[in-house]
Symmetry: C2
């Protein structure tokens, strides 16, 4: 019996123990946003650290306002590659308990799923990676790789301590690739690797016109109206073909290859069901691209908020003194947020009419992430997924941005494997969060196989 078979059997025979461990983890209400749960957050950090200590890892709690980053390194395995695994032990608030069928921090196993806050986001996704290492240690008596685990407690509130830790400890965190399980998959039997994330550039703009609100009758025609100006400026950032009108915006955009477009066409996606879910008949967007291409691989411009003047009931005939908006640009690989910011400022100042003062506030930004489709690590992940799930994995991208992933990629210079197991209806961030029991155990098997594949992949195709 090979090592991997022994590991998989060990995982199989200890299922009850793994279920119990996840329930223990879920019972800790580690809500990072709520100061009332500060002690629970620290308890979850210690609980996580204990797991690693029992596996002989060296562990450090890097404190961040009492929400430590748990950093754990395995004993050295000479000649083996190093993988960095990221996850988070903090959870979203559970808010209105009346919306939960069972209490959020009393895990209930029913309908084939763990129901609890944190079940899929992210305790149920990070624990399988830890337990797969444990199974290798117990069943095979050895570790196939060098492991560096980073499990943070501030993911839901901005990852501030971890960002600093990555910057400060980039050398200690050096690795061959990074693995993150905090995203989703298309269906319970349809696994996926996410090889791309969009970046973001988010701005607030503030327009100031006259120094007071004015009567739209007496003054209309005699003063530049900030609300009219705002509409003109916001509309002027997009042309009739859905192309963003910022100088240089598309210069660095990595075009979609024919191969990738074919891959995206192959992803199961029911456009009609999607629009039905959103309650709309159709959608507009950049010409020449499908809905999935536009959501995953093309830059977009969305006004996230807009305000100015009278918003109450009935009529008020006012020319307001101020107006403003929040703008989110989603960026694709090779776009530089700093360049976007410069281009945006040039364009907005072109569009801003006389009589209006414009202020642009750069709220935050992060570049896109792309793992090459021919990355040997990505191939390794695909093999691991294919061996466990009934269908082979699809390679997908995600339209959202995970700034910490970009930071791993930028600072450590490695490929990032995003292997997500959550379903759309798993209610991350919503009441009745859940995670499939079967998927939990499949994730463990995928992880156990991935460690083996990464070692092999490294032996074979990777020369550096």
């Amino acid at each position: 019996m090979s090592d991997i078979d022994q590991v998989l059997e060990y995982l199989q025979t200890h299922r009850a123990e793994w279920d119990d461990l996840l329930c223990q983890y879920l019972r800790i209400p580690s809500v990072s946003a709520d100061p009332g749960h500060a002690e629970d957050v620290r308890r979850a950090a210690r609980w996580t650290a204990d797991l690693f200590e029992r596996m002989g890892f060296s562990v450090e709690l890097v404190d961040g306002e009492g929400r430590p980053v748990v950093y754990a390194e395995s004993p050295r395995v000479e000649g083996a590659p190093t993988v960095l695994v990221y996850g988070h032990y903090d959870v979203q608030p559970a808010e209105d308990p009346s919306l939960w069928e069972t209490p959020p921090f009393e895990p209930s196993i029913r309908e084939g799923a763990f129901f609890a806050r944190g079940a899929c986001d992210d305790k149920g996704q990070i624990l399988p990676h830890i337990l797969a290492v444990r199974a290798w240690r117990e069943a095979a008596g050895r570790l196939p790789l060098n492991f560096k685990f980073v499990v943070e407690g501030e993911e839901e509130v901005g990852s501030h301590r971890l960002e600093r830790f990555i910057d400060e400890a980039a050398e200690r965190l050096a690795c061959d690739c990074a693995v993150i399980s905090d995203t989703g998959m298309p269906g319970p039997d349809q696994p996926a690797v996410t090889y791309g994330l969009r970046g973001i550039a988010y701005y607030e703009i503030r327009l100031t016109g006259p120094n007071r609100d004015l009567h739209s009758g007496s003054f209309g025609g005699g003063v530049t109206n900030p609300c009219n100006a705002l509409a003109k400026m916001l509309a002027g950032l997009l042309d009739d073909h859905g192309r963003i009108q910022i100088p240089g915006f598309y210069d660095d955009v990595l075009p979609l290859s024919e191969e990738e477009r074919a891959r995206i066409r192959a992803v199961p996606f029911d456009e009609k069901a999607y629009f039905r879910m959103l309650g709309v008949e159709t959608a507009v967007g950049e010409k020449g691209y499908s809905v999935l291409e536009r959501r995953w691989a093309r830059p977009t411009y969305d006004v996230c908020g807009v305000w100015g003047g009278y918003q109450g009931a009935g009529a008020k005939t006012v020319i307001p003194g101020r107006a403003g908006a929040k703008l989110s640009f989603r960026l694709v690989p090779h776009q530089d947020p700093a360049k976007v910011a410069k281009g945006l400022e040039i364009r907005l100042r072109q569009l801003c009419p006389p009589g209006i003062r414009l202020e642009i506030i750069d709220l935050h930004s992060s570049p896109a992430v792309l793992t090459p489709l021919d990355s040997p690590y990505l191939k390794a992940a695909e093999r691991a997924l294919a061996a466990v799930f009934p269908h082979p994995p699809v390679a997908i991208r995600e339209g959202g941005s995970i700034p910490i992933v970009a930071r791993f990629q930028q600072r450590l210079g490695v490929d990032v494997l995003l292997i997500g197991f959550a379903q759309e209806d798993d209610n991350a961030h919503a009441p009745n969060e859940k995670f499939s029991v079967q998927t939990y155990h499949r994730a463990m098997a995928v992880s156990a196989r991935l460690w083996e594949e990464l070692r092999r992949g490294s032996d074979g195709t990777r020369t550096t």
Copy 2:
């Protein structure tokens, strides 16, 4: 000594009495908006009615939820024309008393002015007309005209009862011209007749996109964003030359004649001081027109309010489900609000992108008012003003709309003379409202002369 000289002397010798009467009037806190002042409002109506009864007028209190229209008709003067005089006895709320130097309903005469709520808006402007009639009666022993006075108590809250009264009693209200003193003049020594008011068409638009707020990363590019759509629609109503882009919008617009443009150029207006007051450097508007032309005599389009998505601090990456705006169009003579509404709907539906549901709510509208510059009544008013003030009057227009004036003009089919005496700094609708004592007495003299001029004007130039 002619009749008019006797009347003017009578007015002069009774100044103290007229001051006392205005102070009595101002002491009644007839705040129409405040139910707590309901009895005061009725008291002001009775006080007004008493004035007319003592002059031998027949008086009716037309009740409007306890805020009666005071309707008073003079004894019949055979062969004389009939003038309808409009004013209002209700006042704005006085709100924060700490902002008033003297209490709003304890009139104080200082710095040459009456300080009290209602001083210029409108008790101090309607009373001179009444007292001028009284002076004719007392000093000349006869009335030069037939008078119909309409003094309402709901001007500050929408004139609902008066609108119905005009519709119901149009025949009783039949007259040769209407006189209203509820507007302003350019300077203390610079009188004016206002011969034009803009109309208004006010709408709310509501845009509905997806049935929930969506993540701008995961969904950006895959759904039509109502905020983006709103910007496009609002911006699409105006071209780069400040022309309103609604089909047929300019078809009926009465163009400015060269004579009128010359008159407007002659009106004292310091553009630099105006922009300095508003705290702006300049303003944009319809190309080819001056600031005063644009404010007085050209139609305009102002967004009075705009909303959608996230308006709080920091970043929220949301594609909102809804957005909306309030739109005010100022109309000029011969534009039909119903036609504007139809054109607006056509244009907005053209601009509305797929994936957005559009609702348009017509909140209210009123056409513009224009008294012909060659109206014999307007000439009469100019002569009366010229005889009293150190400078001859200028003819001005006003960018705002006074829907009740349009109703008088439409229902009664007569020229409306707007002879206003308030100064910009008289604080109508603000704390420390005031009205110049000198202007109060000048207004009385103008009114006494106007009655004479209207009779003569009628004898001379008017044949119908």
